[in-house]
Point group: C2
């Protein structure tokens, strides 16, 4: 196991992030699933320069992106988007694409269970075929019920993976597990050797160590199932607008260059633009909590 | 302490609910915060007939209801709504109104922190004055970040209660505590004698006992702070639309008489219309888990 991080949580130049995470002992990155934002050649050079490898990417299933959409052309465009993320990861020599099948924030389905299941299985199969061709492993990620109505638990993600291909896997996320699973550890065991990726935030989605999750037991369970991939930092800190605020300086008040749909994505998660100080602290604290457990 | 339940989670006649909960040992009800749905005289008679008292109500802060709205007339209407819930509870001889200050599902604020704080404090003071006059205690309830951006933690709800009146309190909910608090038990201790109400669902928002929350420890901590109110059942079960579904018969397929905004409220929580069998089981399991702990 090694420590990795997403970078979609703060709009900052990749070089700044890479320098930041290198000093705390991160080995790899899951790059934001927006291929249009990255020039492959430049990105490869940056990764090499900072000694950080690309582990993979997570799809940012925003707006009209939805593999379970009723509209056929919308599904086709969504498949194209996922394929573009897979291609990007392949060109950056990454191993994994974490797939969120349905639009984040969408809580009402387009069709019957049977229709929808067929749509999402067929669309994911297309993505999987492209991933296999590109040498990238595909991992279905369940999210909590407020982010999606469709895949919330490990067993549900595994059902889709099973319907797609025995070589399709899942990605689990400690924050979501704590909301949706009857037993966090049993969910990890259920995934077993189909677990391709693991996302790390505490129960309150601050850095690991700032909440009540039992990280030694989580990591021990990952070892128990023989997991040997990344533990990928993905904190999403809620903004406190009351006099009880613990981190009054967490919100960035200066103008930040970020596309509106990505800002909306962050705000829909209860978070906002983060200051460099706050973001850096969260990166450091996660490393301090996780690294001693995986060494 | 005694066992209570909300009834907004299933659209069924009150008499059916009262009969259902009586047999499982519930002593009181928190009635759905929609005064227009209840004739006071009939409701009093029904409660008496079934031997269930009204403990209180929770505001259903839907649609345009928002004590933190920028628009003054919207705030005034929201205050009127909360007052109407307080009046209903008073007329049903209840003790508590649980107040959710900002619209459920709203995640972006209308103004600056300072403006908004003034709006919500002033509006809540008006509600509190009415509650005092009617002999009802007011409890601010924090919700998880996906349901509101404004009050997520006990400390934040207490900050509003403090700004309103020393006799204003808070309501905590185990499901939300598990998502938002650094330590669930410390949050209960922080509320202390300002804790006026406590909502019960497991970490996955199924009935208490169907998830990983430590109910003996939660109830012990409530005893430690001298809490002597209701433990109010409020499960909101997510619908599973995959082949991994554990409860394939939980969703009601027959037409149900429910206002569209209330159906949307339930769907926004990842749930749906529930069958009588599933609903009854959740009521029973909660009672089986909680009653032995509070006797």
């Amino acid at each position: 196991m090694h420590l990795s991080t997403h970078n979609w949580m703060r709009a900052e130049p990749l070089a700044v992030t890479l320098k930041r995470i290198k000093k705390y002992g991160y080995e790899s990155i899951e790059i934001s699933g927006e291929p249009a934002q990255y020039d492959i050649k430049d990105t490869r050079a940056l990764l090499k320069e900072h000694g950080i490898r690309c582990w993979g990417a997570v799809t940012l299933t925003l707006g009209e992106r939805n593999l379970a959409a009723k509209d056929e052309s919308q599904r086709a465009k969504s498949v194209d988007y996922v394929k573009s993320v897979i291609t990007m990861v392949s060109e950056l020599e990454g191993e994994i694409v974490t797939l969120v099948p349905a639009t984040v924030g969408k809580v009402v389905p387009d069709g019957t269970e049977e229709e929808e299941w067929q749509w999402v299985v067929d669309a994911t199969k297309e993505c999987f075929a492209h991933a296999r061709e590109k040498g990238v492993r595909l991992a279905i990620e369940p999210l909590n019920r407020f982010e999606t109505y469709l895949f919330n638990r490990a067993a549900q993600a595994l059902a889709l993976a099973d319907a797609v291909d025995p070589d399709c896997g899942v990605c689990l996320d400690a924050f979501h597990l704590n909301i949706e699973e009857e037993d966090i550890y049993d969910a990890i065991r259920l995934a077993g050797n189909r677990l391709f990726d693991f996302h790390v935030a505490d129960n309150n989605r601050f850095a690991a160590g700032l909440g009540h999750l039992d990280w030694p037991k989580i990591v021990a369970t990952l070892k128990e199932i023989g997991y040997d991939g990344a533990l990928t930092n993905e904190f999403v800190a809620p903004v406190d607008r009351t006099p009880a605020a613990k981190y009054p300086d967490m919100v960035e008040r200066n103008p930040v260059d970020i596309p509106p749909e990505q800002l909306k994505f962050i705000q829909d998660h209860g978070s906002s633009l983060l200051t460099e100080k706050f973001y850096d602290d969260q990166m450091r604290i996660t490393a301090e909590t996780i690294l001693p457990l995986i060494k």
